[in-house]
Symmetry: C2
Subunit: 149 residues, 2 copies
């Protein structure tokens, strides 16, 4: 359990160690995200911040979030691209998503399926389904990296 100050120190240190300038925009965007529990979109962060930073551009929010993501300072809560993808396989199953080629590989996991949900979820609402998304780099992509061409 880190204090607010420690988290900000770590933020600063991470930026510095990657040669990133500590701009007002970066600080405010990170702080806003830290204080939020609602997993905001770039748009909504921008909207929220524009009273404090009236000149902040939406592009900067997107760019900054992408930078932070690379540094591991923030996470993108998304399992895949923005393009919706479909399947006719309607039996319960899960997906491995290759971060590189965006390929989806099905897998089944019966011991997960039959597992009860954690108490943490009791009382959030009606549950309609649960799914696992495992992500990483698929074999095809690993091969390609080894011998390029």
């Amino acid at each position: 359990m880190d204090t607010e100050q420690q988290v900000m120190d770590h933020f600063e240190a991470t930026c510095r160690s990657h040669g990133l300038k500590l701009t007002h925009q970066r600080l405010e965007i990170y702080r806003a995200l830290l204080q939020s529990a609602e997993h905001p979109s770039a748009e909504s962060l921008h909207k929220q911040l524009e009273t404090r930073l009236p000149t902040l551009s939406l592009d900067t929010v997107y760019r900054t979030l992408a930078t932070f993501e690379q540094l591991g300072l923030v996470k993108r809560v998304e399992t895949m691209s923005s393009q919706a993808r479909f399947e006719a396989k309607i039996e319960q199953h899960h997906h491995f998503f290759c971060d590189q080629c965006r390929q989806l590989i099905d897998f089944t996991w019966h011991s997960f399926d039959s597992m009860g949900l954690p108490e943490a979820l009791m009382g959030v609402g009606t549950i309609r389904g649960k799914n696992v998304v495992v992500h990483g780099v698929c074999n095809d992509c690993l091969e390609k990296k080894k011998k390029p061409e």
Copy 2:
């Protein structure tokens, strides 16, 4: 394990029972999705089908997939909206996603986290993370439905 024929029969029965006409386009789109393991996008389905159905419009593919989704004939492989969302909470945790208000609620699930991955996944590639997405309708939305206004 259903045979191809049984699956198509179920498709036909589902369409019929909802008063939907069994059009050439619907059949082809469903068949293409059935035979594909790559979780195609609407765009790529359209591209794939346009040799066989040169007049098929992209609009029809989108419309048809949406219809099929409502009937439970196909699934949209997506855990959330197409809008990316972010968080600064980088500790391992999972999400409850409200299908109605798109709210995300964090939860932790240590017994899942410490669980090994299923054998089905051995050999797919390098694994970088695993996450659960539980979806349903949150309490706020359930309340609103009870007493609208």
